[in-house]
Symmetry: C2
């Protein structure tokens, strides 16, 4: 739905257009901010303006409200793909894939839809243009639960195109649900990557007051443009307040809360860096630096790999057929990497059938160790590959990648137990 | 293997027997502690003594070592089922199930075997006899990855027997791998429980210096004997040092590290209490008190329930047959409880076939909300039951229990979305 006649009249009287900075005076207060796009499903009487703090507020237009244009969009250097490049600034490519970071709320139903174009996103974040020259495009517009091997491959290729065209870094706005899977997939596919690729998301859509889209995007731009780091990273809020973001290694990061803005954590690793929303970048862990690799795109993935969590009473019989329909399976075992005796037997059979079977821990923290208990030694004898302190999700993605690189099971084992992209620590003592 | 001739001669000379308190003098130092049982696979030259701190040390007996008995076991009140009951003390039953807490290390291979009897366990922890009268028995001697519905039922019945025989509380030493599943199962099966049942484990076997078996057992005895609480709990170390244990609600606890002693955490809930190893009990959250329920054993469980974690590219076709082989399935979806569009379609089919489909979040922290995104609303239309902030593992066990109580799908839905044993919070605002 468009604006109501009343709202349109008020905006027309003021001569206000999308992107203009407005002063909106109510009976008791006034707000100043940039007029945001009006969406099809938004309330027809409400305008949304983005405050200087990055927060969006919705204001209902009625006879008590007075709107005044303070700064016209045409008069500002609007940051977009059409903006004149500043030769002194680095170039960052933004490749949109969808998700909450590029979404808006349907105010009739309260539901969230993917909507904004890459240009809209940049228009909503003018600060980026002072940090870098931006080239933006939308590759996908999907919720991340619908990402799959084919989508990862398309994304990896799009990133390589941007790098070959000279981008100093690439930002990938992405749905948070499966962002950790995609960052792991890109980590393995973009071998020898010599600059940063940063996946960034939001837990609140960009038209909501508490949105983290703005702050996370600016921090990602800053990191991509200026940080001396290479590799695939995920950047999200560090805490519940708007002070800083953490940059996580793409193979070590997991979404650990369904709704908080600080949902993402590095597991079994220290975050790589902290980016304050005031602008500073502080490194927290060793990391590869820029310009030291030679990019080789290894974009073949084997989709027939399953991830299964062990639980008491898991029925080997009904899982056997499922596993046989796959070329590989990653178990998230209990504790140090255990399954029931009956499941060990079934996994031994699957392994002898040629299925690659890898073991991680459902504890998430800590490592697999198959040398402590009898169950673990039985699993080793069954041919199960222990995955150390690799996340189950990363092990799934890595096995998809490894099985597309080689059919030799001993090479599969060697690759799965080698640290390729920071996904695996050297074996540590079990006493913490 | 038994002690070597040399070790035997040294012990015989000293007149030292198992359970005696020894002073062991070496060339440069001396240690004082209780002589522990010698196991079949232990080093034949090494004795293990338990220090007053609860730590065990192994000491190699050779010509430089002098052993002296300081206190004979017979002269002390040996705490065991044969100990004379002290009418002033509460009675606590210990029902052993196996696991590391009742294990010892095979020094040839470094592997851990379940071994100690319940009496051995108590003999190793003399402090318990000053806290309560103990009745101990070994019900199972298995690693907890081999627990299943049938084992849970047997354990629930054994607990009811002990309560009917007058136990003021029950301690269940249990392997840590699936302790959270068992505590959830007991929570639902022991309806109206009016005293504490405490599952306790160890991450280091009882003959290792860093064992947490001793401290956790003493803290469990103290809580069972004295705390004004009822329900099923898990008690484990609070931090890496030996200062205190946390008591977690049985439906809210998860093993979050494969090896640390402080591996157990309450998820989406505050731990119920803190027990300092010096003896105090401090409550941290609301909890049911003693003597307010009427125990009804509801020990039927439906084993044909599966737990599945969603991942990108999950193949609906191969999972459909698996799900149809079960009466219920709990998904650990991404984010607020999502799966891919293809999986939604398949789950709708399974639900219309009569399979109970429940949704949790693989984030573990936070809650499911199927009203925010289009995917969630599609899942509601598909008949999927949202499980709020319930742990995936607890939802699995609860669905096993619910499907054994009723075949009516609307009653299944009502029970799954009701808080029965503290497993589910009232719906909260998503903006934490």
């Amino acid at each position: 739905m468009n604006y109501s006649e009343r709202a349109l009249a008020i905006l027309k009287t003021a001569g206000a257009k999308e992107g203009d900075t407005l002063l909106v005076q109510g009976k008791d207060d006034e707000q100043k901010g940039v007029l945001m796009p009006h969406h099809q499903f938004s309330d027809p009487d409400v305008i949304v303006i983005k405050l200087k703090s990055g927060y969006n507020v919705g204001i209902r237009l009625n006879e008590d409200v007075f709107v005044k244009v303070q700064d016209r969009a045409e008069e500002r250097a609007r940051p977009s793909r059409h903006a004149k490049a500043d030769a002194a600034l680095p170039t960052v490519a933004i490749i949109g894939t969808g998700g909450t970071i590029a979404s808006y709320v349907d105010y009739r139903t309260g539901a969230v839809h993917p909507a904004l174009s890459a240009d809209d996103l940049i228009a909503a974040v003018p600060e980026i243009s002072s940090i870098c020259n931006v080239r933006a495009k939308v590759l996908y517009s999907i919720f991340s639960e619908n990402m799959d091997c084919a989508a990862w491959v398309g994304l990896a290729r799009a990133i390589v195109c941007e790098i070959e065209a000279g981008a100093d870094g690439v930002i990938v706005p992405h749905g948070t649900d499966t962002m950790g899977f995609t960052s792991a997939a890109l980590s393995f596919m973009l071998e020898g990557l010599d600059r940063p690729v940063v996946l960034v998301g939001a837990q609140r859509s960009s038209d909501r007051p508490s949105s983290d889209a703005y702050t996370n995007l600016v921090a990602a731009a800053r990191f991509c443009a200026t940080a001396n780091a290479s590799g695939v990273f995920v950047l999200m809020h560090e805490g519940p307040s708007d002070t800083s973001a953490l940059v996580h290694r793409g193979t070590r990061v997991r979404k650990m809360h369904s709704s908080r803005r600080d949902a993402f954590h590095s597991v079994n690793a220290t975050p790589v860096a902290k980016v304050s929303f005031e602008g500073s970048v502080e490194f927290l862990a060793d990391h590869p630096v820029r310009g030291t690799g030679k990019l080789v795109l290894r974009d073949r993935m084997e989709p027939k790999v399953a991830l299964l969590q062990f639980y008491p009473g898991m029925d080997p019989e009904s899982f056997y057929a499922l596993i046989r329909a796959h070329r590989g399976v990653v178990l998230a075992g209990s504790g140090l990497g255990h399954v029931s005796a009956k499941m060990v037997e079934m996994l031994a059979k699957a392994a002898s059938d040629g299925v690659a079977v890898a073991m991680t821990t459902q504890c998430l923290h800590g490592q697999v160790n198959l040398n402590v208990y009898a169950t673990g030694r039985d699993l080793i004898n069954a041919g199960v590959v222990p995955c150390g302190d690799m996340l189950p999700e990363t092990a799934l993605v890595k096995l998809m990648w490894v099985l597309a690189q080689t059919a030799d099971i001993s090479e599969v084992r060697r690759l799965m137990t080698s640290d390729l992209q920071g996904e695996l620590s050297p074996r540590r003592e079990i006493d913490d």
